[in-house]
Symmetry: C4
């Protein structure tokens, strides 16, 4: 019934890995942080994920080469102070409908079941709508112990305080139902640009929580690149929207 396609590149064995999710979201905070982490720590890609619930489009990347909408899984073995295994979920997109979001998250969690994940961190941004100096990292979690653990790292706990929409929320919620302890870390960001500073702040806290070390020097450069690409993309799409006068493919209203 499900239509998520998971192409396994390498069959691996991991020992109770920690899952870290950072799909695109507010200010690209989580994505920037974890893309950088994968790069710096030289994590290995082991699976590619496609879904018909991704946006029906492609990106044009470097040198005119196209890129499919994709989610990807990377791993690290015996890493950091605790000789811990890690799985990273990253990508260039999320599902575009309610049931698409659920299907993709559920299918990925089901596939990962064999690795016996006990702990999960999902990363995101939290939009302040105004300039942010020294972005705080806010958190929420699936149980009391995790909330306490976050507090020990001076992460401010959100409570009675709205929701977390999209993959960062859904993975946490679905994970909780499967007995996986989880936390969402959210970096304060104005929300309207690619925010390397918030990404750095979240990366520092995450490294602390995971007892690992990550170099954050290249984050600025990475943010700059991402920002340029997205600005062009948005500008182009905006022009198309405004000018195409909807000749062919309208947002239908059924009026016959």
């Amino acid at each position: 019934m499900s239509s998520t396609e998971i192409n396994v590149i390498e069959e691996i064995e991991l020992d109770n890995p920690i899952l870290i999710e950072a799909l695109p979201g507010i200010g690209h905070v989580g994505k920037l942080a974890v893309d950088s982490m994968i790069d710096e720590l030289e994590a290995t890609k082991f699976a590619e994920i496609y879904s018909p619930y991704f946006p029906p489009q492609i990106f044009i990347g470097e040198e005119g080469m196209i890129e499919n909408m994709i989610n990807e899984l990377y791993y690290l073995k015996d890493f950091g102070e605790n000789k811990q295994d890690f799985i990273f979920l990253v990508g260039n997109t999320q599902g575009v409908s309610s049931e698409g979001q659920y299907e993709i998250c559920m299918d990925i969690l089901n596939y990962l079941e064999k690795f016996n994940i006990n702990t999960m961190y999902t990363l995101g941004g939290i939009a302040t709508g105004q300039p942010v100096e020294n972005p705080k990292i806010l958190g929420a979690a699936t149980d009391v112990e995790m909330v306490e653990f976050l507090k020990e790292s001076d992460i401010e706990i959100r409570y009675n305080d709205g929701g977390i929409i999209g993959a960062s929320g859904l993975f946490l919620g679905l994970g909780k139902r499967k007995g996986i302890v989880g936390a969402c870390l959210m970096g304060e960001t104005p929300g309207y640009f690619i925010d390397a500073e918030a990404a750095e702040a979240i990366l520092i806290k995450l490294s602390d929580l995971l007892s690992i070390e990550v170099n954050t020097e290249k984050l600025d450069e990475r943010a700059e690149e991402t920002r340029k690409m997205l600005e062009k993309a948005q500008q182009m799409e905006q022009e198309m929207m405004n000018k195409s006068s909807n000749q062919d493919v309208d947002d239908l209203r059924y009026i016959g």
Copy 2:
């Protein structure tokens, strides 16, 4: 084919229970009333319901703990003047698409079939758009006898008068097709805030119809709490909407 997940916590036997539905809606009138009823009467939860048609998100509740989007079933046995059994359907969300609404309602009704429900009340608010003094309770029903029964409790009958959208309408309609007698009680409410007064009015009428007694003292307090949480949530979402400049997950228009 269906994807609704009904996790039964306790296998129970009930004798022609009356079903009372009160999922979130206008002014939270029904939800406030029945959440309070469950609390005061110490009803027991016997099933949790999840659906991929719920919004793809989680709520952040007390002390930073996350809450899944959920519908829940509670029961009471041999209760009230008539030693009647009751089932309550409550939750923090409804389905987000047309077919999602239908699937969830149908799956819940199908699951409940074994209890031989003969009668159903669905609760909601009816927005007046302006301040309301002494909120009236309006009603509609599946058959003439029920309409008469409502009138006896001084419930004003709506007629030739629009529709009831969402779970409160759909349960009544789908129930009617299964031969379940039903009524919808709608409390007048301005519609733009969590309305404890309308909830109290509806609770008083419902207690009357069911020949039970419910303490309504804590309704104000409960309304205040809900209001605070939702205001924060809305404010946050609004900011995200306005400021995120749709960098990642757009409302797609297909223009290629």
Copy 3:
């Protein structure tokens, strides 16, 4: 796989009946005309149709009794000058999504296949956006002979001229693919009220094409009733929209 529910009330045998479709649309032109026709000619209901792609709601009808969203099939045997059999498709709603529209239309046409329908008329309104005196009836058809037949009744043929959206268009198109000759009759109407005059005009042309006689006297009264109900419904829904401040069931944008 399909979820359309067709409840057959009476098993009937018909001889190459003509199908007449008139689901709600612009100005309720087609619906008014055919509802009246069914009433005047005393056609018999033989099936009720439900779909999860109908809007998730109910209507409140006379005396506070609720009405499900429904499509209905009626028939007439050996009727009119030509002793012709007829099937009428009417109802209070259409599907609310693109694929819902297709599924409902396909399922109904598949069910009707056993009756060997050769000819189909679909009825609708065409909005002028301004007051209309002596509404014209416009037409389009699946083949040249039908176009000529319409012209003989002084129906003005539309050409290179946009589309027909919803059930009136889709039945014609899907019918054409099944080899059913069809025409769409569209009555000119301002489009913003229930238009008894346009309905009368379309009813007169249709009676002519079908070689039958229909009394149109009660159309005004029927239009007035429908108008009252819909105005109330719209007003109420509008108020709900404006005032509910979207507390519970938002039009989600995925921003996590």
Copy 4:
């Protein structure tokens, strides 16, 4: 599970044909170019494609005859300098939802698998939002060799530069995953009218890439015809939208 209907008209055998996709899009640039190509080169239609994800409507064409929403496949054998086989994918519509777009593209590519397509060109417009003199043709591709091949024909390569939304992007992306080398050619166009000039520019480049010759003389005439039809259609739909006051088939918000 899939619902795409592919009606094969002629069973054909082809030798590593080149696929050319040109469904409706910005400025109708690709569609105009390839419709003209099919006409001039007398390509033969071999399959018709229908989907419930197409818009639920029909077009009214010449002489009042209705046209179904459709995609079509044409072929040419042993054509041009290289005695090459070609398949052309054209039509009057694209899918209207995210998953619809994916399903249609995937089903068509799966059907075409038996022909062993190695190379694919998808055509589209790129909106400038302002008048264009001497429209440039921009390109993007699935691999380095194809990018070089485009450059040799003086096609300007887009890079780090947004996306390609809809069928032109999706076919390229899904094709890449199947090992098909592909390129998208995009003609600069203001974007708000049917653009024969951009279509001519793209047709000249494409002929060059394919080593074939196509007469472009009738493009102006064809553009004029298409423009007239679409303008009428849009105007009509706009009026319907504005005036119908949403009496029957609303964009539902679930508020019960």
